[in-house]
């Protein structure tokens, strides 16, 4: 399983801002809305427990949002083509 953790919308995200400023300096134009979060991969016997794991430890709900993605052994998200 994969848990994607993002800074909540509207929260100061200086990492995202720093990356957004760095890309044009390397010649990559037209980049906006950059946010830097965290990716947690884990094998879980009972995926039903994942939301509780997120709320209690993996995520701080005051400042972060999360998304749980089911992936196969090759790391491909369930339902993804190819």
């Amino acid at each position: 399983m994969r848990v994607l953790v993002r800074p909540k919308a509207g929260i100061l995200d200086p990492q995202g801002q720093a990356v957004e400023r760095a890309l044009p300096a390397l010649g990559f134009e037209g980049v906006s809305q950059v946010h830097v979060g965290r990716l947690i991969e884990l094998d879980v016997a009972d995926p039903e427990q994942l939301p509780a794991m997120c709320e209690k430890l993996l995520v701080n709900p005051l400042i972060e949002d999360y998304e749980i993605v089911s992936i196969d052994a090759a790391g491909t998200p369930a339902g993804a083509a190819g």
Partner: protein, 223 residues
């Protein structure tokens, strides 16, 4: 009267905290793997990088055996002071409102800062006068205090902000210049700057002692 100072893997300011506490009372260091608070009268959660700051600052330390005892101690009204990483741990443990985000500059900052005392009628600031300026060093990368609007309004309405960065001194981007915040019950307080590093004239300021003396005196007043 005895302070207990927590030591986690990665804590680095526990000895300074112990020396600061010993200037006003007795003090003993408590190991994170124990559950026994050894009869101490007040707890200090010191600064450092507990558990390597893995996942989020303070997130892992919050679940150590000793912290379970500290949470019980706090719920029974025992005084708890969190400094820097200790403040982050107490926020993660839900004992204090809000969370600490990376400094707005993304840089580690180490400097002497002036803090305005917002209230002096508390267990943590009774040795100060309201409006006093305390000169205390701050040193951190993740000290930008944040709370969602409704929570922030509640914290302000309850008078839970005890210390703010003086005008122009909010280097980390904290909401409303908040440097230190108390819980609603008034027995848990956390701040990012380090009062334990401001206890001797040799290092420029003894203002930090006022916070430790306040805790001692508030307990003496209860006896």
């Amino acid at each position: 009267m005895k302070f207990g100072i927590l030591r986690f893997p990665g804590t680095c300011d526990e000895v300074d905290a112990q020396l600061a506490c010993e200037r006003v009372a007795n003090a003993e260091i408590l190991w994170h793997g124990d559950r026994d608070l050894k009869g101490v009268d007040a707890i200090v959660v010191p600064g450092g990088f507990s558990y390597g700051d893995y996942l989020r600052v303070g997130a892992i330390a919050r679940f150590s055996p000793l912290m379970e005892s500290v949470i019980d101690f706090a719920k029974q009204g025992g005084p708890v002071l969190g400094i820097c990483n200790g403040f982050q741990i107490l926020c993660e443990a839900g004992l204090l409102p809000g969370a600490l985000l990376p400094n707005k500059t993304l840089r580690f900052v180490c400097r002497q800062v002036d803090l305005v005392v917002e209230r002096s009628d508390t267990a943590f600031t009774n040795a100060c006068e309201t409006g006093d300026l305390l000169s205390i060093p701050a040193k951190h990368t993740t000290g930008c205090w944040y709370a969602p609007q409704a929570l922030h309004e509640q914290v302000e309405a309850n008078g839970q902000v005890l210390l703010r960065y003086a005008a122009g001194g909010n280097f980390n981007g904290s909401l409303a210049d908040v440097a230190g915040v108390m819980n609603e019950a008034g027995n848990v307080f956390g701040l990012m700057p380090h009062p334990e590093h401001a206890v001797d004239p040799l290092t420029g300021s003894t203002d930090g002692l006022k916070l430790f003396a306040s805790i001692r005196d508030s307990l003496a007043a209860h006896v």
